[in-house]
């Protein structure tokens, strides 16, 4: 029973990891750079959502949509002001710029909202569901459902929409995409907007589960083993990697932490990643690209 409980917690948290990792992978695929400010994108979401909810006194859904608009705008601004300037710069410069950006955004959150933990007013029903002895709080259930719906929407978007096709084409071969008449600038802007939005959604869901505090940006670091495990350039890998890391983390937290007095929860994912990278250097689903001439 305890095992199942931990497993379900892991699946729910893992689905959120998968969502946040998706934004990470999208940016990597489109520009070849790691977005080290991803954790801070996660951080902005719940704070903005909270502010809209409490200051304007509107229902959660309205605040949620407002937050999405804000996040899209934030992603757009970052792309315009920072990333576009570095268009022809080496990848390492872009990565360093995102590192600077993460400090900047984290600082902004501290200045504006301080560092006390805040809690969301109850959004989802409070009474836990008891399914065959396993207790599931509605927040967990709803988070999982929302993430699943979003993943389905995204996979349809990438598979069938014109912009989705262009995003995949740019990720594949930027020059060739340019020669198709695709606007690489537009695609990059879209990528950053979407990445910022999924990060914010992940943050809001996590904020509903654990409360909102600046330490949430640590998810930026947790998502790193997720994407490396799944393969940096694989959307599918990000999602499955998210589940795996979420489950491993919770099982380690449940079974191993009491033995050593805590702390293993955050370490075990990295140990797993190390082991897997020894066997599969490109991650579980990452490709070294189809090579044939």
């Amino acid at each position: 029973m305890f095992f199942l409980q931990m497993l379900i917690n892991g699946i729910v948290v893992g689905s959120i990891y998968g969502l946040v990792a998706l934004g990470f992978v999208l940016i990597y695929r489109a520009s070849g750079a790691l977005n080290l400010a991803n954790g801070e994108f996660v951080l902005f979401g719940p704070y903005v959502c909270l502010v809209i909810m409490t200051a304007l006194n509107v229902p959660f859904l309205v605040a949620f949509i407002g937050t999405l608009l804000f996040s899209a705008f934030l992603g757009l601004v970052v792309e315009r002001l920072v990333i576009r300037q570095l268009q022809n710069a080496p990848t390492i410069s872009v990565i360093m710029a995102t590192l600077g950006l993460s400090s900047l955004l984290a600082g902004a959150v501290h200045i504006i909202w301080g560092h006390t933990t805040r809690t969301f007013p109850p959004v989802f029903p409070q009474t836990p569901l008891n399914i065959g002895g396993i207790i599931i709080t509605p927040v967990y259930l709803w988070s999982f459902i929302i993430v699943m719906i979003l993943l389905v929407i995204f996979s349809i978007f990438f598979k069938y929409s014109k912009i989705g096709l262009a995003m995949r084409a740019v990720a594949d071969d930027r020059q060739a995409a340019l020669s198709m008449g695709m606007s690489v600038k537009f695609v990059l802007a879209m990528t950053w907007m979407i990445a910022s939005m999924v990060a914010a959604i992940g943050g809001i869901l996590l904020g509903n589960i654990n409360g909102v505090s600046p330490t949430m940006s640590a998810i930026g670091l947790t998502v790193l083993p997720v994407v490396i495990l799944g393969g940096l350039d694989s959307v599918m890998g990000a999602i499955i990697g998210g589940f795996l890391i979420g489950i491993i983390q919770n099982l380690a937290g449940g079974y191993l932490d009491p033995l050593v007095g805590g702390g293993l929860k955050d370490v075990v994912p990295f140990i797993v990643v190390l082991l897997i990278l020894m066997l599969k250097p490109h991650g579980l689903f990452g490709s070294r690209g189809i090579e044939r001439v």
Partner: protein, 259 residues
């Protein structure tokens, strides 16, 4: 239709790749642009299609005129909308996309969404092999199939002028023949104007109406394709059919006139 006059282009602000190229493509023709490695063939095509900037190059002098309009400084996506499409060297198909998705990608700038499906069927008629591979990832296609896909993808954009950069590169001779026959067929049936860059001068001239030979960023010879095929100089230097190349080369080179 396309008139390039005294075009000069540099890479990284210092490497002079084109030194005053002039050429002329008439509507409905296939024009071949021939020359050895580093002659400036690909650079010419990139300049026409606006892709020089992406490789840190730019036009320093001269004009490119398409349907009476100067297009020197127009962005690549605008040029695709105006009807100039470049099939890049090395095929450059999207490896992780399926064959069908690659064709859709070619139609990216088109507004008439409804007729795209029927145009894809038309491409499959020209290249029946692609139909069989429709849902396969393009990266797993053979070189020849990829080249067919690259040309098909170009046709999907419904260009007025199709630029082909070395369609024979790295492809088995028999397939090269098939591909060039298809290019000729497309030109005849669709009335599509084509500017093709090739190292394989023989096959390019066999389907072309007119040909230019460039060397060191300049046009050194031009004429009707049939005339070029018969020209003794050319057969020695570019077609590889000359008998005593070593002896003849040095003086003949000097005699060549520079346009």
């Amino acid at each position: 239709m396309l008139r390039v006059s005294n075009l000069e282009a540099v890479y990284q602000k210092m490497i002079l790749a084109l030194r005053g190229i002039s050429l002329n493509v008439k509507e409905g023709q296939i024009v071949a642009l021939l020359g050895s490695n580093g002659a400036g063939k690909s650079t010419t095509l990139k300049a026409i299609s606006g892709l020089l900037a992406a490789e840190d190059g730019h036009i320093t002098d001269g004009t490119i005129e398409f349907q009476g309009e100067i297009i020197n400084n127009i962005s690549p996506d605008q040029l695709v909308k105006k009807g100039i499409f470049l099939c890049m060297e090395g095929r450059r198909i999207f490896k992780d996309l399926t064959v069908e998705e690659n064709l859709y990608a070619g139609a990216y700038t088109r507004k008439d969404r409804s007729s795209i499906k029927s145009d894809i069927e038309k491409i499959y008629e020209y290249f029946p092999k692609l139909k069989m591979l429709e849902h396969r990832k393009a990266g797993y296609l053979s070189g020849g199939e990829q080249q067919m896909l690259a040309i098909g993808r170009g046709l999907m954009a419904k260009p007025k002028l199709l630029l082909l950069d070395e369609p024979s590169l790295g492809i088995a001779p028999l397939l090269v023949k098939e591909i060039f026959e298809n290019i000729k067929k497309i030109n005849e049936e669709e009335g599509l104007t084509i500017l093709v860059v090739e190292q394989n001068a023989n096959i390019a001239l066999s389907i072309a109406h007119y040909g230019y030979i460039i060397e060191n960023g300049r046009v050194v010879m031009k004429g009707e394709a049939s005339a070029l095929l018969e020209d003794k100089n050319i057969s020695e230097h570019y077609l590889g059919t000359g008998k005593d190349i070593k002896e003849g080369r040095s003086n003949r080179r000097r005699q060549r006139i520079v346009w």
